[in-house]
Amino acid sequence: MARRTGLWSIVLAVLVVAPALAHHSFAVYDHTRTLTLRGTVTKFQWTNPHGFIEMDVPQSDGSMKHYSVELTSINMMQRVGWRSNMIKAGDKIQVVVAPLLSGEPVGLGMEVVLADGKTMALPVPAIGSFKRTDAQQ
């Protein structure tokens, strides 16, 4: 019982000091694997509470699958060097995402290789908690 109480204290202390860094929980995303999406941008949405990249990703069977890539707050992105003109519709880009656990075609963006080849990281809170596997999609 004493041990349980001790554990509770640690859990509560961590919860109390861990502030809400993000607008919402990222627990809806798979923390055990990442996908690498290569495709064509249909829209780069520079909005809060989160930005989005909309993109069409060719599949191995020849079909096309549309993905929404959720980004962080554009304020955080801007503070680490992102700009709204870095991506535009028609750009061919590569994005590493943590996919939604539900299986829907949405991912949380971790890293983007822009059309000019430049790699831009996304300031995802606790990014270290996501395991990078970068499976091709």
Binding site: W8, S9, V11, L12, A13, L15, V16, V17, P19, A20, L21, H23, H24, S25, A27, V28, Y29, D30, T42, K43, Q45, T47, N48, P49, H50, F52, E54, H66, S68, E70, T72, S73, N75, M76, M77, Q78, R79, V80, L100, L101, S102, E104, P105, V106, P123, V124, P125, I127
Partner: protein
């Protein structure tokens, strides 16, 4: 003689005015300059803090000293949040609906926070959700029954030497910092003091005799962000929502 007599009162008045003016001037000049952009110390995600680092950071917040049954309810709530996160089905919070954090959550300053000092008022603007609170200086706090509850409450402040003391009441009951419940009688006392030219500490004490055994005190340390101008923050397209089970979901629109 009569001229001297006439001069006497006017000298006295001038002297009194000088004393008042000097007092006001001293009060103004001794109030520290805390105007500028600030960010919680230690937050390095999506920021480039500038300026000097300060003294050793304050200790982490202790758990809230809640009375029963509020403590049990809070622990159960935290447990549910953990279990829901582990299942990948997080419980929706106010933030999912793009509602502001309110008091005292907005003072965590995980996004930059601007403090503006002007005549009779200190204004705090938090970049996230464009939260604004006004601290009315040197006036008595209103009666609780005269305040309509809100996210930021009603704040009055005064300088006690180099410390800005702010009293806040009237925070809505559904505005819960760290999911901790409170009654309408919650009172937040903040004591803000520069610990170094670029480091501001805010000691926050929450008292609420209905739900707390004793006041809950914790301290936030802020780092000055020199030359940083707050960015706008508008919830322009919030795709997150709470489903009928109260779980956080994201709107998926394959037509985009």
């Amino acid at each position: 003689m009569s001229g001297t007599r006439a001069l006497g009162p006017s000298l006295a008045v001038t002297g009194a005015l000088l004393v008042v003016a000097t007092h006001v001037l001293v009060a103004q000049t001794t109030a520290p300059d805390i105007t500028g952009s600030w960010l919680r110390q230690g937050f390095t995600v999506g920021v480039r803090p500038t300026g000097q680092q300060g003294p050793t950071p304050p200790p982490p917040a202790p758990p809230p000293p809640l009375k029963q049954p509020y403590l049990k309810e809070w622990q159960d709530r935290i447990q549910k949040i953990r279990e829901a996160d582990a299942k990948g089905q997080p419980i929706a919070t106010n933030a999912v609906a793009c509602l502001p954090e309110g008091m005292p959550g907005m003072m965590t300053a995980t996004f930059p926070m601007e403090i503006l000092q002007s005549r009779g008022q200190i204004t705090v603007i938090e970049e996230a959700y464009t939260q604004v609170r006004r601290v009315l200086m040197d006036r008595p706090q209103q009666k609780l029954e005269d305040i309509e509850p809100g996210f930021y409450g009603h704040s009055v402040g005064r300088w006690e030497g180099d410390t800005l003391v702010v009293d806040t009441i009237g925070v809505k009951e559904n505005v819960r910092y760290q999911n901790v419940p409170h009654s309408t009688e919650m009172r937040i006392t903040e004591r803000m003091q520069l610990k170094a030219p670029d480091v501001l500490w805010n000691e926050i004490t929450i008292s609420d005799p209905t739900v707390l055994e004793k006041p809950w005190t914790f301290t936030f340390a802020y780092q000055k962000m020199k030359d940083y101008t707050l960015l706008e923050y508008i919830c322009e397209d919030n795709r997150e929502f709470a489903d009928d089970q109260g779980r956080q979901k994201i709107r998926v629109d394959p037509a985009r």
